[in-house]
Symmetry: C2
Subunit: 255 residues, 2 copies
C-alpha cells in the first residue's frame, strides 16, 4: 500500500525518523508556517492576518483545542507532526521542542499560514534558482495593526538576474495564498530593508551589478508581531521547520 509523500514525511517526523528542516521534503506539497495562540487572542491575530494578507495568507484555522488540521491534512496532529517548535512566553523565545503534546491546552487555536517554500518548485521549473542568494530581512514598512499585533513587514530577499526577476514575478503572482508577487524590486533602501542584520541567511555582501534584489512578504511577519506584542504564550514552527500539508502547490495556484 502506497501513501502520499506528504503523509510519509509527516509520519517520519512524528516517529522521529526525520529531524531537521523540511525544505525539500515532499516537493510539490504546500508547506505552512504555524502560529498557535490562546483563544482570547485568536480574533485579533486573525484580523491582523486579514489586514496584512500578503505576509499572512491564512490557509486553515483549527477549532479551539483541536490539534487536527482537518482541511489541509486530515489525520495529522499539529502537536507532533512538525520537526521543531519554538515556544514563546511573554514574547520571549524560551526554547525549542520536538513535540508540544505536554504543552497542549483546550483553548489553543492553530493558524496555518502559506509559505514561500510552496512555490520554490514552480520557480525551479521555470529556471529560477531558489537555494542561493536568499535572506530574511526586516524592513521599515509598517504592517496594519490589529489589537496588540503590530510591527514591521518582514521580507524574503532574493537576488535574481533581470530575466529571472521577470519570470519569478509572473510565477509567484499565481500563488496569492503563498505571498504572491514581489512587493518590491530594486533598491533595498526604498523599503528600508535591514541588510546589516538578516534574520535568516549569511551576512549580505555587496550586490553584484548583474543581479536585481527582489522582495516578497514573508511569513515570519506575524510571528514577529506576536513576539513584539509580548503575549503570554505563542507556539510556532521553528524557522525552516514547517508543516507539510496534503494540498499540492499547483492546486492553489491560478491559471
Amino acid at each position: 500500500m502506497t501513501s502520499s509523500p506528504a503523509l510519509q514525511a509527516r509520519l517520519a517526523i512524528r516517529e522521529g525518523r526525520h529531524i531537521g528542516p523540511t525544505h525539500g521534503l515532499a516537493p510539490g506539497f504546500v508547506q505552512c508556517n504555524l502560529v498557535i495562540v490562546r483563544q482570547p487572542l485568536a480574533y485579533d491575530f486573525l484580523v491582523y492576518c486579514q489586514r496584512n494578507p500578503r505576509a499572512c495568507p491564512v490557509l486553515e484555522i483549527t477549532d479551539p483545542g483541536d490539534p487536527e488540521p482537518r482541511r489541509l491534512a486530515a489525520g495529522a496532529d499539529l502537536r507532533s507532526d512538525l520537526p521543531k517548535y519554538a515556544v514563546y512566553r511573554q514574547g520571549r523565545r524560551m526554547g525549542d521542542e520536538t513535540r508540544i503534546t505536554h504543552l497542549w491546552e483546550p483553548g489553543l487555536v492553530s493558524f496555518l499560514i502559506g509559505s514561500g517554500i510552496s512555490f520554490d518548485q514552480a520557480l525551479e521549473r521555470a529556471g529560477v534558482p531558489t537555494h542561493q542568494h536568499r535572506w530574511v530581512l526586516r524592513t521599515t514598512l509598517p504592517t496594519v495593526p490589529a489589537g496588540p499585533f503590530r510591527g514591521p513587514l518582514i521580507v524574503t530577499m532574493r537576488w535574481l538576474t533581470p530575466a529571472q526577476a521577470i519570470v519569478a514575478t509572473q510565477v509567484t503572482a499565481r500563488f496569492p495564498w503563498n505571498h504572491g508577487a514581489p512587493l518590491h524590486i530594486g533598491d533595498p533602501a526604498a523599503i528600508g530593508a535591514d541588510l546589516a542584520h538578516p534574520l535568516h541567511g549569511l551576512p549580505v555582501g555587496t550586490i553584484p551589478s548583474e543581479y536585481v534584489p527582489c522582495f516578497w512578504a514573508c511569513g515570519v511577519t506575524p510571528q514577529a508581531a506576536a513576539e513584539a506584542a509580548g503575549i503570554d504564550l505563542m507556539i510556532t514552527h521553528a524557522p525552516a521547520h514547517g508543516f507539510i500539508s496534503d494540498l499540492k502547490s499547483d492546486e492553489i495556484c491560478l491559471p
Copy 2:
C-alpha cells in the same frame, strides 16, 4: 476641485441624491458586500469566511464600533454610504433602511466582502456581456461550517458561449479577492443548482444549446449562513446595493 468617482458616488448616496442599486456607479472601483454583526460573533463569522474563501473574500474588517472603513475608503461612513440596508433579527429579515445610524452600537463589527460586480468591467472589456442571463442560485454544495455559521454555497450563474466561458475563466481567475475563477462549468445538476427557485433574477428557462452555464461562488453565501444561524442582529447591504470603495478593481487583480 475634482474628486474621485467613488467619493462622488458615496456622497450622492449619503445625501440622498442617489437611491437604488449601485450597479454601474463608479465603474472600475471595487464594490463590496457588507455584513455587520455584534462582536461576540465576529470571530466565528471571520473563521467562516476564511474557511470558504471563494464565497467570502474579506477585504476589510473594522474595529468594533468604528463605522469608518479606514483602508478601503478613509472618511466614508458605513452607516450612511450605502443606498439600502437589510436588517435581520433572529435570522429574519425585518425590513430595509436607507441608513442605520439609529441602529448603531459600540460593539458592531463590519465586514466588507469582495463582489463579482467588481470584475464586470474587466469582463466587458474582454467582450463578455454581464447584464443578461445572470442568476443567483442555491446549490447542494455545503460550505465548511464555523461556530453557528453553516449552509449551502450560493452561486452566480451566467450563461455564456463556449468562447466567452474560456475568456471569462481567464479574466476572473485574476480576481481571487472577488470570487476568482468559476467553480463549475456545465451541468447545473452536478452542483445541485436550484434552477426552480432563483434568489435573484427572473425564472430560469431552458438553457439554449449555444450556451454553457458558468458558476461563480457568490457573496450572498455568508448572509445566507448568518440568516440560517438565526443570530440576534445582522445588518447587510440590501441585494444589489453595495458599498463603493476607493480601491480600483485593476489594483487587486493579478498580472
